[in-house]
């Protein structure tokens, strides 16, 4: 199982933001995506997760191997922490949410309504969802926002456990994640020079 991305071009709002991006990730490896604001990290991750199409190039992995987590955590504020997690677990045919709760220190909070969590607690719940998807590739967009240092360490431990069990991770961030492994990819160098995507190019320029 490996992820091969070759000559990828991605666009946002009709504007190509990155192009010629290639990388290669094998089981057990992580990739940290960095780059200044507006450089296209979020866009790249959405393409990897299959939420929007690439305008050029290929991604070797089917979207149904990808677990995606972005700024919005997809929590239902009326449901309890455990119910939220249980839903995603059932959807992915996973039966036990215990390890996920434990990994992000949510056991004490499990009966709390998700709406009554603080910003960091919400984030932890959003990340715990990854563990119940049972998917090999994690694609994470600024996962440690609002987390305190203890929670960041727990996150790093969860990612490392995932990698050890043969998983992969692509993580966009501006912060230090405390991961021991992990190559860094700076997307700034792949900034697109041809502004719009192919078909539009010919049509309207």
């Amino acid at each position: 199982m490996e992820l091969v991305v070759s000559e990828l071009g991605v666009a946002r709002g009709g504007v190509r933001v990155l192009e010629g991006l290639s990388f290669w990730l094998s089981a057990g490896q992580a990739l940290i995506v960095r780059g200044p604001n507006g450089s296209g990290k979020t866009t790249l991750l959405r393409v990897l997760a299959g939420l929007q199409p690439a305008v050029a190039g290929t991604v070797s992995m089917a979207p149904d191997c990808v677990a995606y987590a972005a700024h919005a955590d997809g929590l239902k504020v009326q449901l309890s922490v455990a119910e939220n997690l249980m839903f995603w677990a059932r959807l992915h045919a996973v039966h036990d949410i215990g390890p996920a709760l434990e990994a992000f220190d949510l056991i004490d909070l499990q009966d709390r309504r998700a709406g009554a969590l603080s910003a960091g607690q919400k984030r932890r719940l959003g990340l715990a969802r990854l563990l119940v998807t049972a998917r090999p590739l994690w694609v994470l967009d600024e996962p440690t926002v609002s987390l305190d240092s203890l929670a960041v360490a727990r996150f790093a431990a969860a990612v490392e456990a995932h990698l050890r069990s043969g998983g992969m991770a692509v993580i966009a961030t501006h912060l230090d994640l405390g991961l021991s492994a992990g190559r860094v990819l700076d997307v700034a160098q792949f900034r697109a020079t041809r502004p719009v995507d192919g078909s539009l190019d010919e049509a309207f320029l």
């Binding site: 997760a49 929007q52 979207p63 955590d73 997809g74 504020v77 009326q78 449901l79 839903f87 059932r90």
Partner: protein, 218 residues
């Protein structure tokens, strides 16, 4: 898929989830009708089947934007789209959940409101039957509209605008069945047509909804 159905119903039943609100809206609008038309009961009884159908339709309409927009806003829709269920299945389940939590209670409560509007006695049966047959089409068409307007902030009103003309055939046949029932005329033809529309939309429209949703998630 069943997990999604259970969750949607559960969410609707929780506090603030919107179950019962469509119902209450229906009740209140029907209560307002005599205030606006005047209390003449002969007049009311003539318009009762039509007004009840229209009210049920509006109550359905107003709850449409909960079908997908809530999931869109908190990011669940992105995650559901990457989950291992086909989008066609997802929109069908969502339409079903909407029907169960919104349309079905409406149907069950109509007889009570019929009394308020002096619906003739023979009208009750056919009114309820026409609603039972017609409302699934309303939910499915509504899901299509919700999928079209999903990414638009407070798209509720636009959603109504798009969906209402699509509701016209259902309303015409449904209200016709109810009216004929109340006047003790034969109802077969419009009832059959209503059933045909419901079957057609339930079978085909989810594909359009899924296509539209895919575009919107892009």
């Amino acid at each position: 898929m069943i997990a999604v159905l259970i969750r949607d119903v559960q969410l609707a039943l929780r506090a603030g989830g919107g179950f019962g609100l469509g119902l209450a809206f229906f009740l209140i609008v029907m209560a307002l009708v005599p205030f606006s038309i005047g209390p003449d009961s002969a007049l009311l009884s003539r318009i009762a089947p039509g007004v009840l159908w229209l009210g049920a339709l509006l109550a359905c309409l107003l709850s449409l934007d909960r079908i997908l927009a809530l999931d869109w806003e908190d990011g669940s829709l992105d995650l559901l789209a990457t989950a291992p269920i086909p989008l066609e299945g997802l929109v069908s389940v969502k339409a079903l959940a909407h029907w169960l939590t919104t349309a079905l209670p409406l149907v069950l409560v109509t007889p009570v409101l019929g009394v308020l509007l002096s619906l003739p006695a023979q009208g009750y049966l056919w009114l309820v039957i026409s609603l039972l047959v017609g409302t699934p089409a309303l939910s499915v068409i509504g899901t299509f509209g919700a999928a079209l307007t999903v990414g638009i902030k407070r798209g509720g009103l636009l959603l109504s605008l798009l969906v209402l003309p699509l509701y016209v055939p259902v309303l015409i046949f449904g209200a016709d069945v109810a009216r004929r029932g109340a006047e003790a005329q034969p109802v077969q033809v419009p009832l059959l047509l209503l059933g045909a529309i419901t079957c057609g939309t339930v079978a085909l429209l989810p594909f359009a909804s899924a296509a539209v949703l895919r575009v919107n998630l892009r």
